[in-house]
Amino acid sequence: MAATKANKEQKYDRQLRLWGDHGQESLENAHVCLINATATGTEILKNLVLPGIGAFTIVDGHIVSGEDVGNNFFLSKNSFILQNRAQAATELLQELNSDVSGNFVEESPDKLLDNDPEFFHRFTIVIGVQLPESTCLRLGSVLWSASVPFLVCKTYGLIGYIRLVVQEHTVIESHPDNALEDLRLDQPFSEFTNHIQSYDLENMEKKDHSHTPWIIVVAKYLDKWLSEHNCQAPKTYREKEAFKLFIREGILKNENGVPEDEENFEEAIKNVNTALNPTKIPSAVEDLFNSQQCSNITSQTPSFWVMLRAVKEFVHNEGNGNLPVRGTIPDMIADSQKFINLQNVYREKAMQDAAAVSKHVEYLLQSVGKSPENIPEKDIKLFCKNASFLRVVRCRSLAEEYNVDSVNKDEIASCMDNPDSEMVFYLMLRAVDRFYQQHSRYPGVYNYQVEEDISRLKLCVNSLLQEYSLNVNIKDDYIHEFCRYGAAEPHTVAAFLGGSAAQEAIKIISHQFVPFNNTFIYNAMSQTSATLHL
């Protein structure tokens, strides 16, 4: 057992550095359903099997065809003998990673929806590929009611399409790329004030002076500034420049009056602008505080909202209007002791704040008849550390997107104002779906059909625009192009979607990093993409 664990740590090392052991654990507990083992489907699944999801089940009623084997890495000549596309793909995908269990159901999703819709309730996420519109909508409705996330993917010629359908997806660890530090220089907490009291910059030895952390330098000079400026912190550009000069004047000079090389002071000056940013709760977090889930805590409420409510209570009490202190500081020029001591001041304050939040969590849980063990200490700590970065993604349902009364006309119309927008491809995919509904086939599959189908597809485009009262124009070139595609699924476009969709699935499973909301279109002709909010 220990050997397997060590081996897994080695194998997954490169990804563990991205989502940690707890992220990996959530993957290993996941059961993913893929509907249709086409090239797009198997490419998505490959990128989930390799990182080690617990299990997958392929639902596919199709028989392996010559063109299937031609563009799909997980079908081979042997697959012709097997015939069953679900089984053939399962075998070759399973072979990628022995940690994963692969299953297949040789059945069309429509049949399953007819006979056993609850079949889909067991999955962590369902990924539907190359599905006709009717199946998509049926499945979407079942999964929405069961709160199972649904990822719809389609490769159509050189266009890729991904749609995420999830009611409410909470993210504690969003891992933002460029997060601002939480230093509280504008609202120093008492332990910090006490700490800087212990520094007397005017009477320090050069060595200490040059190795005092810039945070302390800024705090000290800010103190002086406030006493000389009627407690008004530097706000305007001019004031901040003056403040920087004020700090610069504090740089030690040698016997000849030439300023010494004090990197820590240069760091202080460089960081003035961001250091003086007022501490405030991000509006995204304020919105979450004001949401219904936060106000109404019941015994069914997920931990995310309980913790969020506890943080809100903290903000209004111990926090004096602020979130719990994050507790981290960036590296800076300083000697070890000064840096560690300062770091500990922030760390201890963070621990204190987290403990206060914990009390609120306890109280909330008890008030709905649950024991505090339901939300472990370490989860609360992680939540507090990420309090500024919390995100909740709510996607509209497919029903809302497709319903004439709730279609997002504004988004469609405003995108279509821009001739380069990818929105036109979304509309073409919808038109093509309509064509399929009417003719039980896609346009232009055979060479002789391409020309004839152009006018048929155009009728579908027009009826689509009319039905939704969309006053937009779609150039004939796009209609021609979509007939030309003949519903082809070129491997490289399928592979692009394979990577993109798989990572979105991992975000949903792990609740780390932020998923897109809610429609992604990839154009391989121009190598451009767009995220649309439909």
Binding site: R14, E67, S500, V514
Partner: protein, 463 residues
């Protein structure tokens, strides 16, 4: 105009093929193909369309499919990107693919380099990758080369129609870039388009990636945009030696200072792949951290710092390799206008791409054909010139070797890579340019790992 060379080259090859077919009796001898195999691809070769490249000529005869069959592609790297590229190219119809990779398979590769299995650990990546693809995709002939790119010369690279890179090193990219530039031929100062070999370059790091199309001599090359690859920042020595604050500082202390001093395993240098070595560094780093009350030293962090590990997942590599392969297909078939010329991808927050045209640098040290300007006073020491070559953001040389011609004879001013020559030429570093006998306008030839050809510099004395 940009793709005139491909049109010409392609036309010549298609003519050759048609001739060959006439001799063969005109049938498509693709005996391993089954019915419908290339249906998904053929739609893009056989049908005209409103968005195709102006040069595109659709054909329902098997001419174009055969064209794919004889197009020779070189894939550099058989790792995260390389495995994906080989699959993508094979399933797009390409059959003649060479792959170069100097590495062997490691367990940590298995989370994304899907052509490898636990039993393959230790074997050369290029060979295992080629075997797998050839076995899975009938008719595809991937030829592996368990070699460094520098082991080959122009005669090897010249045979390819398109080269795709899936490298993890900027130095290697620059070398490849330089090699293709050296293949360019100019007649009366005009570039001969048939000497251009397109270079598609992909790179990934965690959840970020990029793909670019380079037409050497015509569009921005790797060195034109060197600022897009900022040099790695190492921790200052004084921090490591006397003022550690982060667990990383403690690890670097053990690696840089303690290891060479204590030589725990004898005269062997630190091997990041040896768990015993990493354990030693980890233990020492923990001791140092304890001394300074620093928390956070873990085995994983230690390994990450020592090996300069970059996190990696299958998904990002899949996306970037897919974009690269799409470009190979476009260029090979003229089906669409290729990417012009740089794609950036990031899926940390949603799915984000950005496409732009990287511009050529007029005085690019790799592709501009003009000698680089070196402005120094005659009193400057050679050391300053050396520092400029390594620290300048547009040059970023690693260990430049400087030679010049004095009194008709070739003279090495400084060379680092050969110990005896380094010792002999080291005193030159403290000499001024004047003392070394160099004059205004003097040409210096600089060799470096970042380029297969020497770079010419012209000394411009300032007052």
């Amino acid at each position: 105009v940009l793709l005139i060379s491909y049109r010409e080259k392609k036309r010549r090859r298609i003519e050759d093929l048609t001739e060959k077919m006439a001799v063969d009796g005109g049938h498509c001898d693709i005996s391993c193909d089954w019915d419908g195999r290339w249906n998904h691809v053929r739609k893009f070769l056989e049908r005209p369309g409103p968005f195709t490249h102006p040069d595109f000529e659709p054909s329902t005869e098997c001419r174009l499919v055969k064209y794919l069959l004889t197009c020779k592609i070189l894939v550099i790297g058989a790792g995260g990107l390389g495995c994906e590229l080989l699959k993508n190219l094979a399933l797009s119809g390409f059959r003649l693919i060479h792959v170069v990779d100097m590495d062997t398979i490691d367990v940590s590769n298995l989370n994304r380099q899907f052509l490898f299995r636990p039993k393959d650990v230790g074997r050369p990546k290029a060979e295992v990758a080629a075997d797998f693809i050839n076995g899975r995709i009938p008719g595809c002939k991937v030829v592996p080369h368990f070699k460094k790119i520098q082991d080959f010369d122009e005669s090897f690279y010249r045979q390819f129609h398109i080269i795709v890179c899936g490298l993890d090193s900027v130095i290697a990219r620059r070398w490849m870039n330089g090699m293709l530039i050296s293949l360019l031929s100019y007649e009366d100062g005009i570039l001969d388009p048939s000497s251009i070999i397109p270079l598609i370059d992909g790179g990934t790091e965690g959840f970020k990636g990029n793909a670019r199309v380079i037409l050497p001599g015509m569009t921005a090359c790797i060195d034109c945009t060197l600022e897009l690859y900022p040099p790695q920042i190492n921790f200052p020595m004084c921090t490591i030696a006397s003022m550690p604050r982060l667990p990383e500082h403690c690890i670097e202390y053990a690696r840089i200072l303690q290891w060479p001093k204590e030589k725990p395993f004898g005269e062997i240098s630190l091997d990041g792949d040896n768990p015993e070595h990493i354990q030693w560094v980890f233990d020492k780093a923990q001791e140092r951290a304890a001394e300074f009350n620093i928390t956070g030293v873990t085995y994983r962090l230690t390994q990450g710092v020592v090996k300069r590990i970059i996190p990696a997942v299958a998904s990002t590599n899949a996306v970037i390799a897919a974009a690269c392969a799409t470009e190979v297909f476009k260029i090979a078939t003229s089906a669409y206008i290729p990417l012009n010329n740089y794609l950036v991808f990031n899926d940390v927050d949603g799915l984000y791409t950005y496409t732009f045209e990287a511009e050529r640098k007029e005085n690019c040290s790799a592709c501009s054909q003009v000698p680089q300007d070196l402005q120094f006073p005659p009193s400057a020491k050679l050391q300053e010139v050396l520092e400029y070559l390594t620290e300048n953001a547009s040059l970023q040389m690693k260990s430049p070797a400087i030679t010049t011609t004095l009194e008709g004879k070739n003279k090495t001013l400084y060379l680092q890579s050969v110990k005896s020559i380094e010792e002999r030429t080291r005193p030159n570093l403290c000499k001024t340019l004047k003392e070394l006998g160099l004059s205004d306008g003097q040409e210096l030839a600089v060799a470096d790992v970042t380029t297969p050809q020497t770079v010419l510099f012209k000394l411009n004395f300032t007052t």
